[in-house]
């Protein structure tokens, strides 16, 4: 073990050095916080180029098989890279759906030809992926997807609409959950899962303006779009199971993600740093006893989340409800972020009312972050639904 650790330390130093030397300079425009907020071509190209550079250096997909473009190394190396990227706060790698959702899924249950076809393009950002789960009318109720895929010769003909397709305008592929049957009394059994091409007649991603005033999402319309039948992954009618497996990968519960940083981190450390220099009512914000207490409360909450995630890995300390911590991760982190970004405005006195501009504190980053925080408290099952899930699946309470 010591020998191994020593290697890792050397490796960590190498990574650290490479990142320091290659971390791209401030592009002169405001960067998005996650792949869901890529609103301009400029932003997209900057981030795509960065991902390519990271991959070319060998720091992405390190634990994925070499035959498809991965590094074939133990996961621990990728973990080191991820940690160093977070530590140095380099930009994130934008092909998130490919790296964390589609890639692990294809490696896990795709055919050999799928792996050959898709994996490398995911890693080097040649092929951007997007996600087609949610629909405009059914928000959190994924199982009720109505987007219709009807078998027609060697194709499926797709009609309907998907929403929240981040990078939709840039994507070459979509992981698509569509309804191939309306029979049976189980709505889940009628769903199938596709690795769908996006550059097909009848698939039209239409950018949506977010509450921040920026773009970043699409609504994707399907109008008699022909998708080759062999794009289906899993059997017809097994789409729900495949989607659930995909979400397991997304949540990182089972490993398998390609790695890399997937978002610009904002945490309580940043809020504290802001509190130390911001002025509230003309005085240092940190002088105010109520501000101090709110900061302490938020720091405790952040610490709680971190310690929970550590404890989750110790089975003897999770005997009673083994899934409580992992199943609450999104709820806890997203609600905390909403709270602390909202709180950050109150450190700024009257300037809390500014928005993205040079005159605003930190260029208005906090106001924008607060608005963007709703993407996580709403997307992937709202916080309200997360609490249902905890109540029902973890505590065993009856359905609402």
């Amino acid at each position: 073990m010591i020998e191994h650790n020593k290697d890792l330390d050397v490796f960590r130093a190498d990574v650290s050095k490479w990142l320091k030397e290659n971390n791209p300079k401030d592009p002169g425009f405001i960067l998005p916080e996650t792949f869901m907020e890529v609103g301009t071509d400029q932003q997209f190209e900057f981030l795509r180029d960065w991902q390519r550079k990271v991959y070319d250096a060998g720091y992405l997909g390190m634990a994925w098989p070499t035959e498809y473009g991965g590094g074939g190394m133990p996961q621990i190396y990728q973990d080191v890279v991820n940690a160093e990227m977070a530590k140095q706060r380099v930009p994130f790698v934008p092909n998130t759906i490919g790296l964390n959702w589609a890639g692990p899924l294809i490696l896990n249950m795709g055919r050999e030809e799928d792996k050959q076809r898709y994996i490398k393009g995911i890693l080097n950002a040649d092929d951007i992926w997007c996600q087609g789960f949610s629909e405009p009318e059914h928000g959190s109720d994924l199982g009720n997807a109505q987007c219709r895929a009807v078998k027609n010769g060697d194709d499926y003909i797709v009609n309907g609409s998907k929403i929240w397709t981040s990078l939709g305008s840039y994507a070459k592929y979509m992981i698509l959950l569509a309804r191939t049957s309306t029979d049976g009394d189980n709505k889940y059994a009628g769903l199938s899962f596709f690795l769908s091409p996006m550059q097909v007649d009848g698939i039209e991603p239409q950018p949506i303006k977010k509450l921040t005033g920026e773009y970043g999402f699409c609504q994707t319309h399907f109008i008699d779009a022909h998708i080759p039948a062999d794009c289906m992954i899993g059997a017809q009618g097994e789409g729900w199971q495949v989607a659930m497996k995909t979400l397991m990968f997304e949540r990182g519960a089972t490993g398998g993600q390609a790695g890399g940083l997937s978002m610009m981190d904002i945490n309580m450390g940043d809020v504290l740093e802001l509190a130390k220099r911001a002025r509230r009512n003309g005085k240092p914000a940190l002088d105010d006893p109520l501000i101090r207490d709110e900061l302490v409360q938020l720091l405790i909450e952040e610490r709680s989340n971190r310690l929970m995630n550590v404890r989750a890995k110790i089975p003897a300390l999770n005997a009673e409800r083994p899934n409580a911590i992992s199943m609450s991760g999104k709820l806890r982190s997203s609600e905390l972020k909403r709270k602390f970004t909202q709180f950050a405005l109150s450190l700024q006195g009257a300037n809390g009312a500014r928005y993205v501009s040079a005159a605003a504190v930190d260029g208005g980053r906090w106001q924008r972050s607060y608005f963007n925080s709703f993407s996580a408290t709403i997307g992937g099952g709202t916080s309200q639904i997360q609490k249902n899930i905890l109540g029902e699946r973890v505590l065993g309470l009856p359905k609402s």
Partner: protein
């Protein structure tokens, strides 16, 4: 014992009139259209308000106004808040309050009749550090014979681009002072639009460099107390209106949108916070109309307490409702198309003008506890 809340026939009629006016003149579609305009309001609406006499409500009759009280302005501002109207009415009314309580006879005679007939005036009190205490000033006036040379910057100056008069706070010989600055005295390029979170508002940074006013521009009374009180009253009233519409927007969606085959309003996770918002609204409106009732009573301590409570409650409840409005609209709430963001943005703007809830609670502590 007088009642804690009184509401006159006159106020009631003003509330009805203003509600009708704002509903028809400022539907949210139109609010959205005006967001992309430079001025943020339409001159027709402004003229109609002038026509209705609203600009002269608190202006004495000898200056061409109606000589009524601030309590009569409250229902109008509440109605405007409901429709998120981005009118210079608020700031012009506050400027006329400053003139009435702080202006010299000459200043009053010059400006009040104009305001009553539609001249826009505004206040330039805030500075870059976002200090809510109006006494801390870095903008300075230097006396130079018969004129005063100004330096420094003012921020969050509402509607400065369309105002004819700016009432500017400066430090003059080490003491805070207010000066009347006609907009002509300021080079146009020194009035720069600011980006604020509420897109229905127009705020400007005003650079005072090189601006000179005659000594007679200094106001007779640096009436920050009057301005503060008037601002808290009207801002809180406007927030009560915004909060009411936020609740309506939420309720409408909860009664329309289905998830898992049920109207989402049937879920207690949404229904109960909606009830909380309702109670917040009822509290805010009660504080606002109580503050309006005692506003002219002369009982300073009671008035201060009432206004701090009104603004603290309004800030907390409106910001909460705006936040929940976005959340409860789900994916749609995350879009610019959804009206929830309009309310959230208005809530945040209002929360951070003239002190947020923590600030006002801290101001209340010595009044209530010691």
């Amino acid at each position: 014992m007088d009642s804690l809340i009184e509401f006159s026939e006159e106020q009631s009629m003003l509330l009805d009139t203003a509600t009708d006016f704002c509903n028809s003149r400022s539907p949210l579609d139109k609010v959205r259209t005006l967001i992309s305009t430079e001025k943020g309001f339409e001159i027709d609406e402004w003229n109609a308000m002038v026509e209705l006499g609203w600009l002269g409500i608190t202006i004495p009759e000898q200056n061409g106004g109606l000589g009524l009280s601030m309590a009569d302005v409250v229902p109008i501002v509440e109605a405007m808040g409901r429709q998120l109207m981005g009118s210079p009415f608020l700031t012009t009314t506050l400027a006329s309050q400053a003139l009435i309580h702080g202006g010299t006879q000459v200043q009053q005679n010059e400006w009040l009749p104009k305001i009553a007939t539609g001249t826009i005036a505004t206040l330039a009190l805030q500075e870059e550090d976002g200090d809510w205490d109006l006494h801390n000033l870095s903008a300075i006036g230097s006396i130079n014979n018969d004129s005063i040379e100004l330096t420094g910057k003012k921020t969050f100056v509402l509607d400065a681009a369309v105002a004819e008069l700016l009432i500017v706070s400066i430090s003059l010989q080490g003491m805070p002072a207010l000066v009347c600055v006609p907009v002509d005295a300021i080079p146009a390029k020194q009035i720069q639009r600011e980006t604020v979170i509420d897109e229905t508002r127009r705020c400007y940074e005003v650079n005072l460099e090189g601006v000179s006013v005659p000594r007679s521009a200094v106001m007779a009374n640096t009436c920050f107390d009057v301005i503060q009180r008037a601002s808290l009253l009207l801002l809180s009233a406007e927030m009560a209106g915004g909060l009411a519409s936020t609740l309506n927007t939420i309720v409408e969606y909860l009664n329309t949108r289905k998830q898992f085959d049920r109207l989402i309003g049937s879920y207690q996770a949404l229904k109960h916070p909606a009830a909380d918002i309702l109670l917040g609204l009822e509290a805010v409106r009660s504080h606002v109309y109580h503050a309006a009732t005692i506003y002219d009573s002369g009982d300073k301590a009671a008035i201060e307490a009432a206004l701090h409570m009104a603004k603290a409650t309004a800030s907390e409840q409106f910001a909460f409702a705006g936040d929940r409005a976005v959340q409860f609209h789900g994916g749609f709430g995350f879009t610019y198309d959804c009206n929830a963001q309009l309310f959230l943005r208005r809530a945040l703007w209002s929360q951070y003008q003239f002190g947020d809830e923590k600030y006002h609670r801290q101001a209340l502590a010595p009044l209530l506890l010691d």
